[in-house]
Amino acid sequence: MNLAWRDVQHGLGRFILTCVGLSLLLGVVMGMTAIYRGLVAEALGIVDGAKADLWIVEGGKRGPFAEASRIPRDTRNAVMVQSGVAAAGAIVYQTVEIPYRGGILRAFVVGAELDRPGNEVVIVEGRAILKSRSELVADRKTGLALGEKLRIGRNDFTVVGLVANSASSGGDPVIMMTLRDAQLVQLEFEPSAVRKEVARNPQSGVSGDTVNAIIVRLHPNASTHDVIERIRRWKHLGALTNPEQQQILTRSVIEKARKQIGLFTGILLIVSTVVIGLIIYTMTMDKKKAIATLKLIGAPDRTIVTLILQQALAMGLSGFAIGAALIRLAQDYFPRRLVFETSDTLMLLGIIIIVCLAASVFGVRSALKIDPASALGG
């Protein structure tokens, strides 16, 4: 007979309530981690989705995500002919706010060249863009439906396909269109100064035919270093490897969030430890007489310590399981993506086990101090 389990059964209602309460706390901890992972996934989603070996951007800029970058579209042709380059595609990124269904739709427009790097997407509904004009593919989170017409600036678009889980590093859902369409959209959303500049001097660096970056894929055995060196020789261009690009985004977008969320998670874990500790302590004190009796009839300390630790673990683990279930049920109600990683879950599980053991210390200590003689009194 397992004493811990029998005692839990004896006060099952209270135990379950305690576990549910604890599960809410642990659910929040898991939610925090999942929010952070979601943030990372969203921030890096676009970068990773591009599957670029190199990002060609404006010289001296950490573009196109962390800083504005603007280069002539025909750079793409010049890059393509470099040895080691397998494919290249120009790309335009623009955050837009569009009046939509009486509200404002905030989205991240991605313009890519058909059949070139940057345009590969996994369509979950509908089809990819076939025509070069006036078609778009939208992330489901935009709320757009297949076949729906959408006016962006002065241009009308038709939604021909839907994708899932594509968002900018800021969490805005993606709208994909052809490079040309995106250039037009960008021009309309540019600050007016740029537009005036373009109007006054079409041959300037900020001509209408500019893009934000060029995505480059290299031949499998090309030397990344050599290609970068050659491209950097053009003074107005810079080249970033994909890991560099990820790092820039991680620094600019994620670092603070990581600290913020890490701190908060830490505080919640401390709170959980205190809560579990208090509960275990109270549960132990409620059993004071039973523990004294056990000692009196000759039960070794091991029996008593096991009783307390098993209950602490049972509580922590059921709280963990219920919390994990609750946060997964609730994840669709969160405005931004929650990403649950097995490694995080396992780590938290490990932490919970340690927390339970640590939190039991007070309970165990006071249980061991209980005088067997105290069972004798009334």
Binding site: L3, Q9, I297, A375
Partner: protein
């Protein structure tokens, strides 16, 4: 029909004080006492006379200051504890019966008895069989699956006695075991203890105020201010 009696509890010049200096309480002063198998001995005396303290010293719950305690032939205390694992000793040689039954509230009646056997290392099935035997012996086997809270005072006390017997103890220590029982039940309980003492060659020490059971005792040891002042054998009418 007398079986050869041998001493199970042997106490010499045992003293115990609580506190120090002028406010010290001399709970036990130079106690000498021998109790044989088959004997039911009552510890009697006014409140504060040291009855519980003596019982707790014999039960290795309270550490005396000086003196000697031999239990079942083993030297347990000689001005200090002579063995390390007192709990193991209790588990193997002593059965306790308390004024309040002190059953574990989260275990059923039979589990409360069986736990003693499992603590001794017996497997569950055998422990349960043993527990059921004992409950039958005490005529409460019909309540074996009830939690203590559902038992009457008398039933709970009998389950507690079954638990005290579960380890087949040489020594049974009972602190006011009949205080919560009516006189009829109290007599049954004390008769039972006598039966156990004889049949199992155990010594029973009972702290009691209960005059109704005095006549059932083999010997009454009177304590006052921590000293044995008188020992009498009630007539067995």
């Amino acid at each position: 029909m007398e079986k050869p009696a041998r001493p199970v509890v042997d106490i010499a010049r045992l003293s115990k004080s609580f506190g120090e200096g002028p406010t010290a309480v001399h709970a036990l002063v130079d106690i000498n006492l021998t109790i044989n198998t088959g004997e039911v001995v009552g510890l009697i005396g006014p409140s504060g006379s040291g009855k519980s303290t003596l019982l707790n010293c014999i039960g290795c719950i309270t550490e005396p200051d000086v003196g000697e305690i031999r239990l079942d032939g083993r030297e347990i205390y000689h001005d200090k504890w002579m063995i390390d694992d007192l709990r193991r000793l209790r588990l193997e040689t002593i059965g306790f019966i308390f004024q309040f039954h002190n059953l574990l509230p989260f275990l059923s009646a039979w589990e409360n008895v069986a736990i003693v056997r499992t603590l001794m290392g017996e497997d569950m099935e055998q422990a349960k069989a043993r527990a059921m035997d004992l409950l039958g012996y005490l005529q409460v086997d019909n309540r074996a699956n009830s939690p203590p809270a559902k038992l009457s005072g008398g039933e709970a006390q009998r389950v507690a006695i079954a638990r005290a017997l579960a380890n087949e103890p040489r020594i049974i220590l009972a602190d006011e075991p009949t205080a919560a029982l009516d006189s009829e039940r109290a007599t049954i309980v004390i008769e039972l203890m006598k039966k156990v003492a004889v049949e199992r060659e155990a010594a029973v020490i009972v702290v009691t105020h209960d005059e109704k059971i005095f006549s059932r005792l083999d010997r009454m040891v009177h304590l006052r201010d921590g000293r044995i002042v008188d020992t009498e054998r009630p007539d067995h009418a």
